[in-house]
């Protein structure tokens, strides 16, 4: 295999970045849409159906037939998708209001910080172990070169993920401060306290995989968690997954922990004063953060690119089985999408916590549980691996 020159290396990395961005920007709008629909069905209504292609779309046509038969259109799952285009157009074209007393510079930079720290996390996420695909030989400049399954599967990938994710707090705090208004400030302060608190159990729950796999590299960790653990590795994996998931909900400010933007208390929280694409950046960053948390959950606990979660892959399916014995990016993507569905599912199921309950959940329950889980993982590592 030829070693790439620096130029080729950079081009390949840019291609990888492009692929990840495409993946993210396909998944995020679909999540927004799915949230409307799934939440609708969870609450016994149809979700968004108004903006539909009507006469030309297949489902529109079928639904028209169903109305004629006097039935509820069960095939309305895809109606409302054109509304996404309208949404994006609205975000881009709306007037960008900056409050007169706002701190212009910080007001401008806060959404950017939020967005960048959300996207950049993907640098250390490895979607498939080894080579993802190889450029065909006729391709200019990079023909015949392999593209690995992660942009930069570095030795300290987990630290990169945690570090950059913790920089994401600034976006929210600074947005709350720069708006120079009471509700955003309250939302920003709340979120700073909440996110800093939940970072602790989140990091500890991710330490259990580190202990079990003796690595900080995302690809190595997901591989060993999926196929390299003994039977007893199941217990700390499942416990750690539940703790991680709870903390992930809090870190991304989703229900039941959406304190920073609790509508009925704080108007819209930290982004009350934002409009236009600046608000759009916060909106996108929230969904990208959800995707990041989903990707980490999938990679560390749900077996990553392998089929079965929680290390069952290594116990049940030998690598010799075709297709399901081998890693595929498609399994990873499906797991991420399932986790995103879980987000919506939980949002439709559990009501919001009170603020003091949020804090006591973090400090009184999750941290001791995460520590116990770490101890369990260490015992498994000591006696069973």
């Amino acid at each position: 295999m030829p070693t790439p020159t620096l130029t080729q290396f950079i081009v390949i990395t840019l291609v990888q970045c492009l692929l990840v961005v495409i993946f993210v920007f396909v998944v995020v709008p679909l999540t927004v849409f799915a949230e409307r629909k799934v939440l609708g069905y969870l609450q016994q209504r149809l979700g968004s159906t108004r903006v539909a292609s009507g006469h030309v779309g297949v489902t529109g046509w079928m639904n028209r037939g169903m109305w004629k038969w006097g039935r509820i259109p069960v095939l309305s799952y895809w109606r409302g998708i054109p509304g996404l285009v309208a949404d994006i157009l609205k975000l881009i074209l709306k007037e960008d209001v900056i409050p007169a007393k706002a701190d212009k510079f910080v007001f401008f930079i806060a959404p950017a910080l939020s967005m960048v720290s959300a996207v950049v996390v993907f640098a250390a996420v490895s979607f498939v172990p080894g080579v993802f695909f190889t450029f065909p030989a006729w391709f200019p400049l990079v023909g015949g070169l392999p593209v690995s399954g992660g942009i930069a599967d570095i030795n300290v990938g987990l630290l990169w993920i945690l570090g950059v994710a913790s920089v994401g707090v600034y976006g929210i705090v600074l947005a709350g401060w720069a708006s120079n208004s009471k509700y955003p400030l309250l939302g920003g302060l709340r979120s700073a306290a909440q996110m800093v608190s939940y970072e602790v159990p989140l990091a500890i729950s991710l330490l259990a995989p580190v202990v079990l796999t003796a690595s900080l590299n995302f690809g190595e960790m997901s591989t060993r968690m999926a196929v390299g653990l003994p039977f007893w590795g199941l217990v700390p994996q499942i416990l750690g997954f539940l703790i991680y998931l709870t903390c992930g909900f809090a870190e991304t400010n989703r229900l039941p922990f959406d304190m920073p933007e609790a509508e009925n208390e704080l108007v819209a929280g930290f982004h009350t004063e934002y409009s236009g694409m600046k608000f759009g950046f916060f909106y996108l960053a929230e969904y990208i953060n959800m995707t990041v948390v989903a990707a980490l959950a999938a990679g560390f606990f749900l077996g990553g690119p392998w089929l079965l979660p929680f290390g069952l892959q290594g116990l049940l399916i030998p690598a010799s089985v075709p297709f399901i014995g081998q890693p595929h990016a498609i399994f990873f993507a499906v797991k991420i999408i399932f986790m995103l569905f879980t987000y919506i599912w939980v949002r439709g199921t559990i009501p919001r916590y009170r603020y003091d309950q949020v804090m006591s959940v973090a400090w009184k329950y999750l941290i001791p549980m995460a520590l116990a889980n770490l101890l369990l993982a260490a015992l498994v590592r000591c006696f069973a691996v």
Partner: protein
């Protein structure tokens, strides 16, 4: 193209160094405390970049995680709550300026004295390693988390533990001080 990229790659440390200095200068020069914190954040991230360009990935990530993600957030938290009266703060800055010049001069003199050899002396032919035998069996370029942990938890365990006890004492002391003030 190739040549240009390689030159940039070789001078990454210098680039990040200059960016760090810019961030630090912005921190000192800006009148708003929150802007200062932003400059500080930028400087901290660029220092992480400096570590990365020196192939010390673990230190770089620890820099981001601890400073950018933890300490500067606390700074921001305090500054946001303190910065309610902008006027008085300006006076404080003006009062300090005379002493600040003296402090900067003293600091610069001490800095030059300590780092005279580093700045003006000849570059050492090979990288300085405190105890090269610690890195045995490890590919330090790829495994510097392992290398750091080996020196922390095997060879310098006692100083490390003493340091953490000192930190704990400071923490408890801060809690005690804050509590007595309130009661």
């Amino acid at each position: 193209m190739e040549h240009l990229l390689e030159t940039i790659g070789r001078n990454m440390f210098a680039i990040f160094g200059v960016m760090t200095l810019c961030g630090a200068a912005f921190m000192v020069a800006s009148r708003s405390a929150v802007h200062s914190v932003l400059g500080f954040l930028f400087a901290m991230l660029c220092i992480a970049g400096c570590f990365l360009s020196l192939e010390a990935e673990f230190l770089g990530m620890a820099q981001i995680l601890v400073y950018a993600g933890g300490i500067v957030v606390l700074f921001l938290f305090v500054v946001m709550l303190v910065e309610m009266s902008k006027k008085r703060e300006k006076e404080v800055f003006q009062l300090q300026s005379r002493y600040a010049v003296v402090a900067v001069l003293v600091g610069a003199a001490v800095f030059v004295g300590v780092f005279r050899k580093v700045i003006f002396g000849a570059a050492s032919p090979e990288a300085l390693v405190l105890r090269p035998e610690l890195a045995q069996g490890l590919n330090v370029a790829n495994q510097n988390a392992q290398a750091v942990s080996r020196s922390l938890f095997a060879d310098f365990l006692l100083p490390f533990e003493i340091l953490s006890v000192i930190l704990l004492v400071a923490l408890v002391g801060a809690v005690v001080l804050a509590k007595t003030e309130r009661v």
